[in-house]
Amino acid sequence: MIELSNVSKTYFSNTSVGKRKGNDKNAVHALKNASLSVPKGAIHGVIGLSGAGKSTLIRCVNLLERPTSGSVTVDGQEMTRLSNAELNRARHRIGMIFQHFNLLTTRTVFDNVALPLELMGQKRHAVLERVIPLLEMVGLADKADQYPAQLSGGQKQRVAIARALASKPQVLLCDEATSALDPQTTSSILELLRDINRQLGITILLITHEMEVVKSICHRVSLISDGKLVEDAEVGDFFTAPRTQLGREFLNDFLQLTPPKELIERLMDAPGHNTHPVVRLTFSGDAVSTPLISRLARECGVDVSILQAKVESIQERTLGLMIAELLGTAAQTQQAMAYLESHQLQVEVLGYVQRND
């Protein structure tokens, strides 16, 4: 449904033609050969830090930003080649919601949702027939005559969602749609987006810096860094085994699974006299429900001191994480790690600590 291929976007500091020939030292390369494919009906997330190029990426889809090079196809239509009038028509098929909602303050809730229909030149009765069900769908039918200033952040975003859906789009672009909302409101908005995706079959492309958003509604996720898409994976795979360092950082940050500070200070890079490995274990699927730790103690003769542990459920998959110290002889702990790996656990040695007992 959405295809970006080799999309680059460069902001030139000076628009003069001479500087355009590639010698503009202050040019900012916001996107570098980004390619992305979102199938119909999917919810695709793009995650990255601020300034990574997320905003530019999503704006290239409906050409709010025109790519410097590359092609953008939405529903089989090459967007970069459309005339202004054709582009406006194509944009009616692409809804968009924003971090700061961007509702018109001088229009009521009803009139905000009606705006895209007015722009399309629809008759008043057709507008009426379309707007009321939309407001019912987002649960704000009773607020039709209120002004945005009278609504909470979550309600404003619901109005914005209704507005984005008014022109019956096939694609919904979400630009940090929940970043200005509190956690509880965030999850209710995400639930609404998931329902919209399921009931109307709308393809959703969202950008976010929050793993929570990706975890709760995305099917697939891309990781963007410095204008490049560096990783593209099923959400379950991304959360169990990110392939890039940045992906791992996002995951660890999200799971807040870093060893306690006082342990980090004692951590040594190499084993020494009377040291024990501290390991991070990641287990998914069947491994979660297998009593591996107690078996480990019995079969390898090591003691396991659990420092941190967490079980997360991502999509239909379960992900377990643990930071533990393995106590035993060098041979025993080696054997233990091999045992764990043979049961599809990822074992990462964080370092070694000395025990004084």
Binding site: L87, R91, N102, L104, R107, P116, L119, L173
Partner: protein, 217 residues
């Protein structure tokens, strides 16, 4: 005070209101579109035309930098061409209008500049044409700020119209100069000033009321 004097004051008050109304109306009709144009033709705006924008900006600045009293005298030939005379309230309305146009344009531009760029972006994402963005988003959303600007303009016009009195423009300024100043009649001077103060207060209150009504923030 004689009834003839009261008639004079009444007539002068009506003359001032007439000049303010005519010049306020015409300058709004020209200044509002000009202000919108100044905004939408900026670089990276919805109708970016940097050269046109620069040209309009320079013209607007020239209009705003000429002192009103000089403008009034300088455009006398133009005024004659337009209304056939260079004295009286119709003649005074011409320089008042000319002076108010760039003033309004800049205030409208400033009001539009206060809007969140996200609103334009949202409208573009909905497939709005530049014309639709101007009519359905920019002007309605900035109407509070535009109203504030028009109030400032009308109040300024009241005091400028008094200045027009210095060159025989008619109205309260004319009365104040001729009877109050030239004939040393402090009562008339005081009455003129009081009426002008009341007029300004009235316009300001009306403006504030309209701004409050149109602002939903």
């Amino acid at each position: 005070m004689s009834s003839a004097m009261i008639d004079l004051i009444l007539q002068a008050t009506l003359d001032t209101l007439y000049m303010v109304a005519i010049s306020g109306l015409i300058s709004t009709l020209v200044g509002l579109p000009l202000g919108v144009l100044l905004y939408v033709t900026r670089p990276r705006q919805i109708l970016a035309k940097p050269v046109l924008n620069q040209a309009l900006s320079v013209i607007t600045n020239i209009g705003r930098s000429i002192p009103f009293i000089i403008l009034m005298v300088a455009i006398i030939p133009f005024t004659r061409m337009l209304v056939g005379t260079s004295i009286g309230i119709n003649a005074a309305s011409v320089p008042l209008t000319i002076a108010a146009i760039p003033f309004i344009a800049r205030l409208v531009e400033a009001a539009l500049n206060e809007l969140s760029p996200g609103l334009i972006e949202a409208a573009q994402a909905m497939g709005a044409t530049p014309w639709q963005i101007i009519c359905k988003v920019l002007i309605p959303e900035a109407r509070g700020g535009i109203m504030t600007g028009l109030t400032i303009t009308v109040v300024t016009l009241v005091s400028y119209s008094a200045m027009a009195g210095a060159v025989g423009g008619g109205g309260l300024g004319d009365l104040g100069i001729r009877y109050g100043y030239n004939r040393f009649n402090p009562t008339i001077m005081l009455i003129t000033v009081v009426i002008l103060v009341i007029m300004v207060q009235g316009f300001q209150s009306l403006g504030d009321y309209l701004v409050r009504k149109s602002d939903r923030k």
